[in-house]
Symmetry: C2
Amino acid sequence: MTGTAILAAEDLLKAQSWRYATKKFDPSRKIPAETWSALEQSLILTPSSYGLQPWKFVVVTDPDLKAKLRPASWNQAQVEDCSHHLVFLAKENISEADLDHFLARTAEVRGQTVESLEGFKGYMMGDLVKGSRSTAIGEWAARQVYIALGSFMTSAALLGVDTCPMEGLQPAKYDEILGLAGTGYRTIVACPAGYRAAEDKYATAPKVRFPASELIDRR
Amino acid sequence: MTGTAILAAEDLLKAQSWRYATKKFDPSRKIPAETWSALEQSLILTPSSYGLQPWKFVVVTDPDLKAKLRPASWNQAQVEDCSHHLVFLAKENISEADLDHFLARTAEVRGQTVESLEGFKGYMMGDLVKGSRSTAIGEWAARQVYIALGSFMTSAALLGVDTCPMEGLQPAKYDEILGLAGTGYRTIVACPAGYRAAEDKYATAPKVRFPASELIDRR
C-alpha cells in the first residue's frame, strides 16, 4: 500500500487544534486500558536515529509515586491529577555493547546474521561511539526523546486523550525518586496524560501561533 | 468536547507501522497541494515549551536548491527524489525582544493587553533569558524542533505521506546554502517527504523494536 491516507486532513487538524497543554486534569477519569495500551505501542513505534531507540518510558499510575514526583515538578497538580504520568528517559551514553544489543535484536527480527550487519555497526561506531556525535551523545539521545514526545502528543490527541508536556521538573530529583542511578538512563521530560477537567479555562483559550508567513519559508 | 477519539487506535498503529525511513522516493510523485497545506498547518500547530515556537520550517521544492543541498546531506538521494524537502530550523538564542514579539502575538490572538502578560514574561525571562536554561538555550530550541519532527512524521503517515528523518547532514553547509547568516536561525535536522518508490526494499523489512518489557517501565 502506498500513499493512502488513513485519516482526513481536516480530522488531523481538528485533533491538533483540540489538543492544548492541559492545566487541570479530571482526577476521576482514567484512560481505559486498551487506549493506554495503544499509546504504549505507539511510543514503541516511534522512529529514532538508526532505529536505536535510546530511551525508556516510565508510566506512573501509583498515587504514592505521583505524590513523590509532584514536588520535583514545580508542584504542578497535573502530576497527581492525571491518569498516567509519563516520564521520558534517555540513554546517558551509547557504547559498543549498546550497538551489539541493538544489532542482535535486528538480526532476530529480520532473520539475518549479526555478522551481516558488521558494516552497519562500523558506521554507527564511527558516528556515535567514536565519532563527532560521541562528544555530545547524551544530548543526541535527549533530542531523540523529543521525537517520541512530539509523536505521543499528536497520537494521544487523535485518541481523545489530553496531555501536558512538562519540562518544568528537576531531572536529578526524578532520577533519584525513580531509582535510575546505575541504569544508564536519565530523566529528560515528562508528559502527564488523562482527561481535562470541565473547568479548565485554558481548554477554550484561542491557540497562539505565529502566522504561517513567519514560520513557513517556501523555496 | 472531551475525550472523543477521532481515530481508532488500530488505525493509528497501522499508520505508524506503515511508516518507515524511506530510502527511495518515487521522484515522479508529488504531494498534492491540499495535503501539503494540511501538513504545514499541522507543523504550525505543533506544541512547544511556553508556546514560544522557537523554529522555522523551510520547504524546499525547487530542483536546483535540492541539488545544492544534496552534497551537504551525505549525498543522500532522498533530498532530490522527494516531493518536499523539509528543513527544520531552530532559534540560536532567545532574547527579551523574542518574548515581546511572542507576547504581542498572544495579546492579539487572545484579545488581552500586553501589560496583563507581564507576569508570564517575567517567568520566561527568569527561565530562558537570564535563568538556568539560558546557558544552553540553543540546545533547548533544538529539542523543541524534535517535537515538531516527531509530530510531523506521525501526521504525514496518517495522510499517507512517506518521510525520512535525516540527521545525516552538515548543518553549517545548510545554513550557508539557505542563507541563514544573520537571521538568528540555524539548521537542526531535515525530513524529506513524498511517496516511496515501488522498488524500495526497506519498505517491507520488518520493523526493529525492542520488546515492550525493555522500553516500558510501569510503576
